[in-house]
Amino acid sequence: METKQYIGEGWKHAILIIGAIVVMLPFYMMVSMSLKSQQEIQSISGGLIGAQETQTFPVCVKTGYSEETCTMKPYQYNYWFAFEKAPIPRYLMNGVIVTLSIFIIQVLVALPCAYALAKLRFYGREFVFSMVLFCLLIPVHGIALPLYVMLAQAGLVDTYSALILPWTISVFGIFLMRQFFMTVPDELIDAARMDGMGEYAIVWKVMLPTAIPALLAFAIFSVVAHWNDYFWPRMVITGNRDLFTPPLGIREFRGGIDSDEFGPMMASIVTVTVPLIVAFIIAQKRFIEGITLTGMK
């Protein structure tokens, strides 16, 4: 019996390891290419990290740098040259600006509304809630075209506003927070009112602190979605490099796939992809919770 179980366990691991290899393939390819020299990439040699021989890179010399500057190990060159060629910090900063603005506005709009829907009694509350439920059905990517037309009419294409505005309302956030606030005991709010707190103070000083865990999960959900989003930025940002979010940057790097060197290109892609992946590996549990939030509906 014992040995049979061990054999079973062994088979399971065998299957899962094959699966894991297939899943990791592009990650391997990406990291490997960002470390190797062009020759090694083209001849598919050198394993994961290549030989790392110090050499002079011709493309770099052609760009106008001195031969001395252009002599280094492939991995150094790839990452150094990637930052020379494209304003990667700018792209990353845009990503941070856009995702944070979206998240903060979403919370500013959703939290009071959720509080009102959960804890205040007023005429029309049921109607507002059913409106929220209806809006949950609308996929924002689906209505991208009319939104684009509206933004274009308002002259907002190619601005930060275009990247942020359509996402300022998160009906999912309202719904989630409302469900959460329903579980907060009324006594807590009554006590706050007795202390003379106004409704505004209650929302931000009493409700917000109790909602931190739910808010954190929602933050991850929102930030991951918008950091990775490519469709919407692609629609509304046409050419202004200063407004490129990380995915648009990635697209630009890929531009010269036939002529360019692959090493620096992959290095830029790795740089842009890595922050989220590292964050994920550090705070795995929270991330999985946050991203599968939609599973709580």
Partner: protein
């Protein structure tokens, strides 16, 4: 009861934004789809159903429907079944489950666009490790397994693998060939989606009470398969329904991989709806036809979601 008017200030911003950003665009898309309006035009004319007529009769749009349907019909069931299998395997492991979980969830997290490019290189005919792996395996075990030579009806001289080996390593140009492009894109879709489903199924599995398995065993369901049929599958009903709907909705919205890898080609075999909206309305400035596609697209999604709600209410209560 307090009688402040605070609630008005609390709900007003949300209501206004919902109307402007979510509800009005629905009507706007509907309206534009009956006109010949293009962005930048001063005037427009009502053209009735002309845009829809084009959509269902012109070859391009028929291909669009085909590509979208193929993608959804392939990706949804496979990624759901893979997610379930992975979840059940992980659930029965004695050790190491967390590592696999992390690995399988990575594609969900990573920027899809970056990963699409990584796949492009992985599958590249001359630079990619997949084709070099295949080429190095000619005449060996890899050919035997991947060429399906172990199936009794496959002739070991005629299999796709053997033919490619014989023709100077003529392995597929995965993303560039008419007969493989859509399947390759589907594969990337599955690769990306199944980890998400796995996590939802893992949550579903932990909520099944242990006693049910004991009870099933007493009733004579000894084998894993019998227990699966008797307990696991029915108990996972609500999870499955949810997973299928959400995967379908996400799958319908596929865009990133198409835009960066195939641009809808070769010969429109991967011309999915979101890409069609983008190409027609934004790149070619044919706003009205884009709006018609949008309306059909939203129609699909709404029908699906209503279906889910309805079935959840009526059926899946065990």
């Amino acid at each position: 009861m307090h009688n402040s008017k605070a609630h008005i200030w609390f709900i007003a911003p949300a209501i206004i934004l919902m109307i402007i950003i979510l509800i009005f665009p629905l009507f706007l898309a509907g309206g534009i789809s009956f006109t010949d309006y293009n962005l930048g035009n001063k005037t427009f004319e009502w053209v009735g159903l002309e845009n829809y007529d084009k959509m269902f009769n012109r070859k391009t749009y028929v291909k669009m429907i085909w590509a979208t349907a193929t993608y959804v019909i392939v990706v949804v069931p496979i990624s759901v079944v893979l997610g379930l299998c992975a979840a059940m395997l992980l659930n029965s492991l004695r050790f190491g489950a967390d590592i696999y979980k992390t690995i399988f969830f990575l594609p969900v997290m990573a920027t899809l666009l970056a990963m699409a490019i990584a796949w492009e290189f992985t599958l590249h005919p001359t630079l990619g490790i997949v084709n070099s792996f295949l080429a190095n395996g000619c005449g060996g075990v890899r050919e035997f397994i991947l060429g399906f030579h172990w199936l009794p009806w496959v002739d070991s001289q005629e299999s796709w693998y053997a033919v490619a080996c014989a023709n100077n390593m003529d392995f597929p140009y995965w993303l560039k060939q008419k007969n493989t492009a859509i399947w390759t894109v589907c594969f990337i879709g599955i690769w990306q989606a199944f980890g998400f489903n796995m996590v939802l199924y893992l949550a579903g599995l932990t909520s099944i009470p242990r006693e049910l398995y004991q009870a099933a065993e007493m009733d004579g369901a000894k084998s894993t398969w019998e227990q699966f049929k008797l307990v696991t599958w029915p108990m996972l009903g609500p999870t499955t329904l949810f997973v299928v709907t959400i995967t379908t909705i996400r799958t319908f919205q596929v865009f990133d991989t198409i835009e960066i890898l195939t641009k809808g080609g070769p010969s429109k075999t991967t011309y999915v709806m979101m890409y069609a909206i983008f190409e027609k309305a934004i790149q070619q400035n044919l706003t009205s036809i884009g709006a018609a596609i949008t309306v059909v697209f939203i129609g699909f999604i709404l029908v699906l979601t209503f279906f889910q709600r309805y079935v959840i209410e009526k059926r899946v209560h065990y």
